[in-house]
């Protein structure tokens, strides 16, 4: 969803991976030093947002190449988080930290079949499930959402209409950093209770694919993320039970599907026209 936000405003955020990694570390540190997983989540959001600000300054403010700066963020994240984990967390003996507990939503959890699966999760899962429609409402029904989309499609027109293009893009990238930070927190505090080096393992890039597959719509991205998640679960299942099917097959499938969708062979998926393009007022 972070990706949707940033790309809708016209910034191709390849740094999602690094933002998630920073978020995962910040969550663990926040949970350990500030007391509890909620502070960890807050820390992850703040750090994610700060990295978003950095990326926004370099790519939007200075107009540097968005892809190169994104790759730079990823390298920086991999280096800094590993370094901090080894030099700060390990010597301090910080390993397992308080993580989110699984909670059951009252009443709903007792729904047969669906209840124990969908409504018995960590709070972060519920937050994510609620955030997607909220973001969709924001993007498609509010004037601010319109500003974001206009900036991503045709910045010159948006500029003419009095929208501050750079400001909107700053906002888009920072928001995507906050969301990616939450994604990282989910990895370190939702699924586990610790930070491990490079624990995102390419999930930021998968999120980019989910953005495409979800046709740049928050709910689409949610659905696509679910599909990618299901593929990952299926892979684990196949590996565990040794079914004789190559486990790489289900993992590969979503990417092939995304390519097919992009090619316009099954339902057209069109990127925001100006995603990845720097906008400078003085350029002609």
């Amino acid at each position: 969803m972070g990706g949707v936000f940033s790309e809708r405003s016209g910034v191709f955020n390849i740094g999602l991976e690094g933002m998630m990694l920073f978020g995962a570390l910040a969550a663990v540190m926040g949970s350990h030093y500030l007391g509890g997983p909620w502070m960890g989540l807050l820390g992850a959001m703040l750090v994610g947002g700060a990295i978003g600000l950095l990326l926004a300054y370099v790519s939007v403010g200075l107009g540097a190449n968005q892809i190169v700066s994104g790759v730079g963020i990823n390298l920086l994240a991999l280096g800094m988080t590993t370094f901090v984990a080894r030099m700060v967390l390990r010597p301090a003996g910080v390993e397992q930290v308080p993580a989110f507990q699984i909670v059951a939503v009252p009443y709903l959890a007792r729904v047969p079949l669906l209840g124990p699966v969908v409504f018995t999760q960590t709070p972060l899962v519920f937050i994510t499930l609620l955030l997607a429609p909220a973001l969709a409402l924001f993007l498609f029904t509010t004037p601010w959402g319109l500003a974001v989309r206009a900036t991503g499609e045709l910045p010159r027109a948006a500029d003419t209409a009095g929208i501050h293009v750079s400001l909107v893009r700053y906002f888009g990238v920072i928001a995507s950093g906050v969301l990616a930070g939450m994604g990282g927190a989910f990895l370190s505090l939702g699924q586990l209770n610790l930070f491990s080096e490079n624990m995102t393992a390419g999930r930021g890039f998968i999120a980019l694919a989910a953005v495409i597959f979800g046709k740049w719509h928050p709910l689409g991205a949610l659905g696509a993320s679910f599909l990618f998640g299901a593929a990952e679960a299926l892979q684990l299942f196949i590996q565990t039970y040794n079914l004789g099917i190559p486990y790489q097959l289900p993992t590969m499938l979503p990417y092939v599907l995304a390519l097919v969708v992009l090619g316009g062979f099954v339902g057209r998926s069109v990127a925001p026209a100006a995603a990845g393009v720097h906008y400078g007022r003085e350029d002609r």
């Binding site: 700066s69 990823n74 920086l76 800094m80």
Partner: protein, 366 residues
């Protein structure tokens, strides 16, 4: 060139220096003398024969893939798919090296390289066709293709091609005739680097002195004008992309044939992504790409020495590289502005092709 313009040109140098200085902070906080750490990196990367050999080994895939991305860049295309093309190239080279026997080395090696180039090229052909045929951004498609390639290699290295009884997913060793020779005795440095350097020189000549190179640049910089001048824009873009993928594919082949001698699952630790940086920082110029690839290769190799002797994690070098990239990208963007300001002449001052400076061709500018 007046003072302002000179200051503008030197910005990238400053960017690297500032990044290196900033990198000292965490090293210092970890209780290690930063100067000693950098000395170790320098010593480890260049001072002895083993370090230098390791530097060459780490430079080779970056150089191949960086050259590939640079070619695409010249045509105004951003190829994020070098990683996947590396995997496909390595796979093709491994298949040729595993299945063909009895050939002399002078035939076997070129055959495997050819297969690798073709595999990498095909992997780039799909995004290229989607780009010119359907208008789908190559940034997205090349990224997706990476995963298909990585999982395909993972499947084959852990399945049909796996050595029976191996503890990890890897294949049997390649036929000895398909392995690249070692160029520095008793080290890992292999002939891949020579091939990469030769290709860099070749590309330098193509882009600097031939009509082919000029057509590619035109098609990238201004498709409308290029078409008007009689350049077959679509065909040129597809060809540039395929050449880009083929070069990255050769990078994968050189890893498999020169270094690992087997097809390993996940054999590239993200060389294709690092190569994006190498190509961009080299501004798409083949000889500059040689320099940036070597710089990155040396940092990686020196970092290993630093970790061994001082206990500073290698990871800090990733952080320094990330900072370097951010500073350099920012400084290149600033440089464009500064030069324009210095000369007061907006069009001419753009030292880089527009597509290099801002990343993606602006649909509005056509």
């Amino acid at each position: 060139m007046n003072g302002r313009a000179l200051a503008g040109r030197l910005l990238p140098v400053w960017a690297v220096l500032v990044a290196l200085l900033l990198g000292m902070v965490p090293v210092g906080l970890a209780g290690v003398n930063p100067a000693a750490a950098y000395e170790e990196i320098l010593r480890g990367a260049l001072a002895d024969v083993y370090g230098f050999a390791t530097t060459l080994v780490k430079t080779t895939p970056l150089l191949f893939a960086g050259l590939g991305i640079a070619v695409a860049l010249r045509a105004g295309l951003v190829n994020i798919g070098a990683e996947g093309q590396i995997y496909m190239g390595g796979l093709a080279a491994a298949v040729v090296g595993l299945s063909v026997h009895g050939l002399p080395s002078v035939v076997h090696v070129p055959l495997a390289l050819l297969a690798a180039g073709a595999a990498g090229g095909v992997w780039a052909l799909v995004p290229a066709l989607l780009k010119v045929g359907r208008g789908v951004s190559e940034v997205i498609t090349t990224l997706l293709m990476n995963y298909v390639a990585i999982y395909l290699v993972s499947f084959l290295a852990g399945g049909p091609l796996m050595e029976p009884g191996a503890p990890y997913p890897y294949s049997r060793p390649l036929d000895a005739a398909a392995q690249l020779p070692v160029i520095i005795p008793a080290t890992d440095a292999h002939a891949g680097i020579l091939l990469a350097l030769a290709l860099a020189g070749f590309l330098h000549l193509i882009f600097g002195y031939t009509a082919v190179g000029f057509r590619v640049r035109m098609a990238g910089a201004n498709p409308a004008a290029a078409a008007y001048a009689g350049v077959r824009v679509h065909a040129t873009l597809v060809a540039a992309m395929v050449a880009s993928g083929a070069l990255a594919g050769l990078g994968g082949a050189s890893e498999v044939m020169g270094l690992k001698h087997r097809l390993f699952d996940a054999f590239s630790p993200g060389y294709g992504y690092d190569a994006i940086i190498v190509a961009f920082l080299g501004a798409g110029q083949p000889l500059a790409v040689v320099a940036t690839a070597f710089f990155f290769g040396a940092l990686r190799s020196g970092a290993d020495t630093m970790q061994r002797s001082l206990g500073v994690p290698v990871a800090i070098v990733f952080a320094i590289q990330g900072l370097t990239v951010l500073f350099l990208a920012a400084s290149l963007a600033l440089q464009g502005r500064l030069l324009r300001w210095a000369r007061g002449w907006p069009q001419v001052a753009a030292t880089l092709p527009a597509a290099v400076a801002t990343g993606v061709t602006d649909p509005e500018r056509r």
